[in-house]
Amino acid sequence: MKALYIPVFLRNPELRPNQSHPSTVLGAKVFGWTALCALLTYGTYDKYLVPGFTDRQRNELIADGLAPDSADRLAPIPAGNKWPTDDSDQLVLATMGPELRTLAAIRHRLQFDGAPLCGFIHSINSSRMAFNILQQYFAGLREYDLLLCSSRAGMRTIETYLESIDQLLPPNVRYRARRVLVPLGVSIPTVDHKDRLVLRQRLALGPDHTIALYFGRLSQMSKADLGPLLLALSVLSRRGTVLHLVIAGDDTQMNEAPRLTALAAELRCLTNLTVWVNPSASDKHLLYSGADIFVSPSDNIQETFGLSVAEALAYGLPAVVSDWDGYRDLVTDGETGFLVRSLFPPDMGRLRLSDCTSSIGEEDLLAQSTTIDFPALCEKLEKLVRDPALRKTMGRAGRGFASDRLSWRVIVSRYEELWQESTQMAKIDYRRGIVGSPIFSFSLENSFGHFASEKRRSESECFITEEGREWLKRPDRFYFLCPVNGRLSPQHFADLLGTIAERSGITVGMVVDLVCSNGVRTSVDEVHWTLARLFKYGLVMSPERHRQARA
């Protein structure tokens, strides 16, 4: 059996803007949701395990747009250590983000040594990401674990983080997970050409009006400064090129819309502009279906891949985008759109990515002083506005690229290929006795051993109390002492308490030896835990308390 473990319960972020308190729609969240849907639609695994998954959550996922058949493929994992898998099963632990450290801890605790881990990078400009990578050096990662990078540029940044960290650590401490380039997936939509007319009616435009669409979060701090795009619109308008620009996207973070409309008014191109904030999923579909050109002058290092560019290609839109990290992997200049040159400022070398809030300020400064070649932006937009045949050719090529290289069917198949490869690598490592990097963990006793008055010793004697004798007569009460995962039954408590009743003064160590040598399949840890519960509930007592009770 092949099983995929997904640790978090994911929701559709694009449905949230309709609520009274909308949360920001981030590409990483959109990816998480669509990846979950795609895995459950195209994946060939037998089980998709989610911890604590409930019927209520299943219904929420269906309300968010997951097909009921797909939702039925999700299976809950009960709390505790009991998993619905066997040793012979092929298990992969995946997270939709980069948090391999948490997955490695789960693998270690549950002794799933042969289970590969899989994580994904999204925005990597945060210091949190760099420190996350640093922590992963000590997480017990293996060579067969995977950190999937969505773009070549993103992968290169990860490599530079690793090189910087490697310089600080001894040579035997190395980052173990494989970095593999896999783009984020997109759905290939069905485009209804009637939407072209519907969109123009919604915008009160003529049926042949050319529309350029920017779709993405509206944030000059962490996405793109759209001011130059408005200036381009103004320039084209003055040259007599008729173009309507729609700027659409999440505006819950920065409230950019007033700045953009004010600038457009100042540049006398407001009539050629629609700012469509917080569009719904159906608005988004209408916008992509009805537009003629996609434009995104990203200037921000927060942008690693370009999910909206990939979506635009899938809808068959030619894309005019900045020559920028992930965009470069998606748009082939002159074939599926145009890449517009981008330039960093000459003093970039003094800026640092640090673990403090002022670091964000430096990133912001960088974005503000990054240039997207303005004359080229105007020229490429103008070229596409004036040449419908070129738009059609490029759009068809873009859709073909998205279908062949970015569609979820293709991407899910690639994931499974890599997981299979990693599982084989894990088997080879196991046969060769190769161990992973050390796991950095903290001893609870070292760290917190001084919190309690003292620690019960193995030589401590155990005596049953009057209350304990009463509970032996009513053993159903032991249900209240059982762990949530149901691994231990009331019988365990009754047997242990019975043992102590028969052997008054038996030591903790002897109880453990006796129970574990009885052929009962109970571990030392479980006996210690069970005995501690009996002490905790006053059913067993120590010699001092026993003497006091007798006196």
Partner: protein, 85 residues
């Protein structure tokens, strides 16, 4: 017979009867099992319950005795029903 104080008969979220033990769902009960449990909780003897199952569900005497005895055995095995001391 005495039923365990740890067990509680509840209607689950889907309307199905459940036996909760120490606050956690343990058994889902069908109509007959739910009826037997409620009779046990009302301190009816096994013989009385058999008669009531025959009367309420139209089961044969043998079938009712078999069902009641089997269910009580399961409950005893799980320490949810005890013979009175």
């Amino acid at each position: 017979m005495r039923v365990s104080g740890a067990a509680r008969f509840v209607s689950g979220p889907t309307g199905k009867a459940q036996l909760e033990v120490a606050g956690r769902p343990m058994f889902e009960l069908n109509v007959v099992a739910a009826f037997i449990w409620q009779q046990l909780a009302g301190k009816s003897s096994a013989d009385m319950i058999v008669a009531q199952v025959v009367a309420s569900f139209g089961a044969s005497q043998e079938q009712a005795r078999r069902d009641v005895t089997n269910f009580i055995e399961i409950l005893k095995k799980h320490w949810l029903v005890f013979d009175e001391e």
